[in-house]
Subunit: 162 residues, 2 copies
DNA sequence: TATTGTTATACTCTATAACTATA
DNA sequence: TATAGTTATAGAGTATAACAATA
């Protein structure tokens, strides 16, 4: 039964959430990634473009285009760092900050919508279990794990008559 | 706190699983999508290329390239339909069937690995809750839902002094 | 004429490499 | 010389459009 497949269930729920989020964020230049940059731009400690790109897992050349768009829309500003003028820090404008608050509110609504089939008690339980998995998954190197798995199975393949 | 964000948790867990799966399936031409086609190719009811492309949500022209690769690797065959010779059905070869069984076994292992932080009872509960969400999510049109959300919020925006 | 699959072309997104400016 | 960011170019992946075969 397909419904029992973890990957399938995860995929359906995740994609539904992502598509809702994408739609909500279609007004932001650069979409979901523009949103992430905007979020980082409101942090207390402003961070340079390169470091930010690394943290979000995107190329630094892509970050240039992304910030170009956000700046053109008046959502963020580039400020040359005081210590190192090469290092450009991304900070949100008032307009950017307000838009971000609005988007976060909408995302919360989308989240509730996805969790709607569950009762309050179930939602709490689900969040707890999922967080437990996420915390561990974060520290995992999926590629390395998968390679280990392959070697382990190659040593004892699942055949009827080896 | 970031850990409380549903989207973040879902994303971390899903991406970890997907990356493990991708690595496991790197030996299949076309990667994860090649795997999906191969899976469909072992179904009792063989299905035409176009219908299959639609079901997997990929373009029919892409499907042509995908099947080309799988056929070149000797995993599937194209058979002209008996009733309509335009309709080419994709069926797995013996080699393809064996490879698929192997991959499914490995995916099961990867799945257990992701769920490792949970006890047996917790795993069961998690699967049950997730499936409940997935079943509902499947019947949802995320874009339409998001649009409805936007209109609803635009009517009563989250401002201190409206 | 309509439909299934193929081929050729164009487009989008992303990465690589060369360039400018600061250090 | 080395680093942060920018710009130009090339590459992979995907979609659009014209095509051939069958209905």
């Amino acid at each position: 039964m397909l419904d029992d497949d973890l990957g399938w269930s995860l995929g359906v729920v995740f994609r539904t959430y992502v598509r809702m989020a994408d739609t909500l964020m279609s007004s932001v230049p650069g979409g979901p990634r523009g949103f992430q940059v905007l979020t980082a731009a409101t942090a207390e400690e402003p961070v340079g473009q390169g470091a930010l790109a690394h943290r979000l897992g995107i190329d630094r050349t892509v970050m240039t285009y992304l910030v170009d768009e956000l700046e053109a829309a008046g959502l963020v500003e580039r400020r040359a760092g005081t210590k190192d003028r090469r290092n450009k820090q991304i900070v949100a404008t008032g307009h950017g900050t307000r838009l971000l608050a609005d988007l976060q509110h909408r995302l919360g609504k989308a989240e509730s919508h996805v969790l709607e089939p569950l009762s309050d008690a179930e939602r709490t339980r689900f969040r707890r279990l999922l967080r437990k998995l996420a915390v561990r998954a974060q520290d995992l190197d999926p590629v390395a794990e998968a390679c280990a798995l392959v070697e382990e199975l190659d040593a004892a393949p699942p055949r009827a008559h080896p």
